[in-house]
Point group: C2
Chain length 201, copies 2
Amino acid sequence: MEMPSIYFERAVNQMAQLPGIGRKTAMRLVLHLLRRDREDVETLAASLSDLVANVRYCRVCHNICDDEECAICRSPRRDHSLVCVVENVQDVMAIEATQTYNGVYHVLGGIISPIDGIGPQDLEIDSLIERVRSGGVVEVIFALSPTMEGDTTCFYIFRKLADTAVKVTTIARGVAQNEQLHYTDELTLGRSIVDRRPFKS
Amino acid sequence: MEMPSIYFERAVNQMAQLPGIGRKTAMRLVLHLLRRDREDVETLAASLSDLVANVRYCRVCHNICDDEECAICRSPRRDHSLVCVVENVQDVMAIEATQTYNGVYHVLGGIISPIDGIGPQDLEIDSLIERVRSGGVVEVIFALSPTMEGDTTCFYIFRKLADTAVKVTTIARGVAQNEQLHYTDELTLGRSIVDRRPFKS
């Protein structure tokens, strides 16, 4: 489809490179921007420039932050002996939103996935091992996706930590809260029976 | 959900203002941008700034363009006596993509929709009437959506053009090409029988 303007075309091409945004959606978004005030669009453009110019990664947990260390790692009210290992920044925010966890995090930046060419060296695994070895960490909690890649990553890290005294746990898997039992997939339901636990009233 | 970085938060807030993009999607897009090369993101940001700074609207047909007049209005190979009235720029591109139309366009910039507070004065209707009155236009083709708003807009313009000699037509409505007859909605099917035309083999 021929575009009526080179600036329009460039903006559409750029937007269409975002994940999950095809050319039709990109065109719709750009036409929307043309209807907005010019300052609004400048603010959007500036926010993206500022983002890549200023966002940093916490040197301890690799969460994104604005300083050397993130607010969670700096907080004296958090339990720094408890380290929750997550795949990405979204997972940190998801767990924080539950308001049930008072420890700190370690963001791997992905999970081991040979099919996508992601090996242990591409992730923040060495820094995690080093963090545990340097002392102060009592428990490492795996909070990775319950997929083959997640399990592989857990197993890899578990083996690397074998010669340390750290306790290694993983978040509970089972039937989701408020889920209808007969809609739960077989694997989850089967495993939830095997992993049954004492009933507490 | 508390954000780990102010720059991250600002970018997410900005992206979430785009139509059809919620906060979760905005977050996913911004995290994707953080994984991209910094130059890529700068290019995206610049393309949006350039867009609002440089895109203009054709003074004849109000299509977006880079100059005073768009390439279609400037072209000597197009039939300037044939004016196709469309709602927006996407419609121009959609019709151009069919490669069946050799006339020119008039982009209204919307359709009459009292429920959205859009009246005739908000659209490029006066300029269309003036364009017809100033001569040279033999036929005006309505290519608006077959909705109540589209029909209202056609009717409004038709009345405004009543005292001119211009021929007014509208694009054909009926059963879509390759559509299964029994899946066609009743209104379309019924109208396609009323509007039946001589069979040409």
